[in-house]
Amino acid sequence: MQSSTRKMGIMTDVHRRFLQLLMTHGVLEEWEIKRLQKHCYRVHDRNATVEKLEDFINNINSVLESLYIEIKKGFTEDDGRPIYALVNLATTSISKMATDFAENELDLFRKALELIIDSETGFASSTNILNLVDQLKGKKMRKKEAEQVLQKFVQNKWLIEKEGEFTLHTRAILEMEQYIRETYPDAVKICNICHSLLIQGQSCETCGIKMHLPCVAKYFQSNSEPRCPHCNDYWPHDIPEVFNPEKEREAGTSKSNKKSLRSRQH
């Protein structure tokens, strides 16, 4: 039951339960959010047709708007999986983390964030992050403790760790994109295709423009001679495959098994 010119959506218990359960996750993959949606319909409105996910979410977002939060959709930078997070629009700082972490822990995150943004690959090594431990605000933190804090960030999906190096979890990118763009306007990298914040990606070796791996995949799909969209020079990197949810499910591969497309250091 929706009016055609909806200014603000209607909340029912289906939507409320959805939101409540969504809030228990930091971030959700698309199949998870669809399952959640179906669950909520089953509990409250068994006979109704499950609304198309995009419309369902837009409806909820129109209600959330006055609360300055939103269900935001993004894509993982390494393999282009669609993911969703409930994001705070009203503050630019890393306030969502503030309730779970102490002052010195937040500062450690900030330091790691800066190293990640400044890096060429989008990754900061554990060593480099830990070397900054003396500069942290708040209570003094030892390196051993800092290692555990970094693991806490990984568990809570703020950072991802690969082979001793850390990058931002897609959740952090979704939550903090605005903050990062405003705080580090010079260091920040932007994807040439989608114009969103870029942490990991491929660069043109001639003109330096960067693209997300999934953006590369889509842009050069079935193009036998990929060329840089900016300077037209030959694109020198491996073109990844476009994310296919059907193939994914069949193969049954977990995310951690996926081969990283980032060139390895060793």
Binding site: R17, G26, A90, T91, T92, S95, R110, Q178, E182
Partner: protein, 295 residues
């Protein structure tokens, strides 16, 4: 002026807000990020949320909440949004939220309209999330959120947190307390739990530290009351239901749980059944007015 920024979902609604607001002369319009007028002003000295980058915007933000004079619709909206988020986050930890904390961390300069802010926040929490903002005990000036949606077994499969495996233990203890006449000695609790393989001194695979859970965590969360029994040697304590339990569940619900565990009917315990019925009747009577503080 109402240009649509690129593919940002906020854009269309921003223009709606401008239309609705009318008298707000904010010329920054839809392009200005909401974030620039972020309501973090009142998080003042206590907050650790101020980041090095954000401090440069501090000056601009301070203008968004004057201490006197009329506030714009938008400022009020932001303030209510902040309050809602604060309450949601605080309630996640299940520690009751003190009014003084709310005033200090969120309301700040808007103290004069605190009752209205709280009422608005309470309405939004109910309408959007299905949570009711309730005062823990009358005049306690602490609040909790009570879920108006019934939890369902299948929720556990789609939750993101581990839910609370400790809920099982809590339910058992609540059941014990009720069935024993609403109060039970700590020694009796452990006598019972030992039979389930739960010991006060032994780490439990699921519950971790059961003693800490029962005598500290559940008490802090106000699910249980834990009082020393005077003149006992060795010292003994007694448990009763805490105020949160009374708000979140009921004697009938707990009785039904106990019955289910025994594969019996609640009516098989006539005394408790009568008590639960009386409790249901009490609940059905109209409640005194909601969370708006009286002082």
């Amino acid at each position: 002026m109402l240009q649509k920024p690129r593919s940002r979902p906020r854009s269309s609604a921003q223009s709606e807000k401008d239309r609705d607001r009318g008298r707000d002369g904010d010329a920054r319009g839809p392009r200005g990020h909401v974030a620039e007028e972020a309501p973090s002003t009142s998080r003042g000295p206590g907050g650790s949320q101020e980041t090095p980058g954000a401090s440069s915007q501090g000056a601009r933000r301070a203008q968004a909440s004057p201490s006197v004079g009329p506030r714009t619709q938008k400022q009020l909206e932001l303030k209510v949004a902040e309050l809602v988020q604060f309450l949601l986050v605080k309630d996640q930890k299940k520690i009751p939220i003190k009014r003084t904390d709310i005033l200090k961390h969120v309301v700040g300069d808007y103290k004069d309209i605190f009752p209205d802010l709280l009422k608005l926040a309470s309405e939004r929490l109910q309408y959007v999330f299905g949570y009711k903002l309730v005062e823990l005990e009358p005049k306690s000036n602490t609040y909790i959120l009570v879920n108006t949606l019934e939890p369902v077994e299948e929720d556990a499969e789609v939750r993101g947190d581990q839910g609370t495996p400790t809920t099982g233990l809590l339910m058992i203890v609540l059941g014990l307390i009720f069935m024993k006449g609403n109060t039970i000695k700590e020694t009796e609790v452990w006598d019972f739990l030992r039979r389930l393989g739960v010991y006060p001194t032994k780490k439990h695979l699921i519950f971790g530290d059961p003693k800490k859970l029962i005598t500290e965590d559940f008490v802090k969360q106000r699910y249980l009351e834990y009082r020393r029994i005077p003149h006992t040697d060795p010292v003994d304590y007694e448990f009763q239901w805490g105020p949160r339990t009374h708000l979140e569940t009921s004697k009938m619900k707990v009785l039904k749980f106990v019955a289910k565990v025994h594969n019996q009917d609640p009516k098989d315990w006539p005394a408790q059944y009568c008590e639960a019925l009386a409790d249901e009747e009490n609940r059905a009577r109209p409640e005194p007015s909601g969370p708006a503080p009286s002082s």
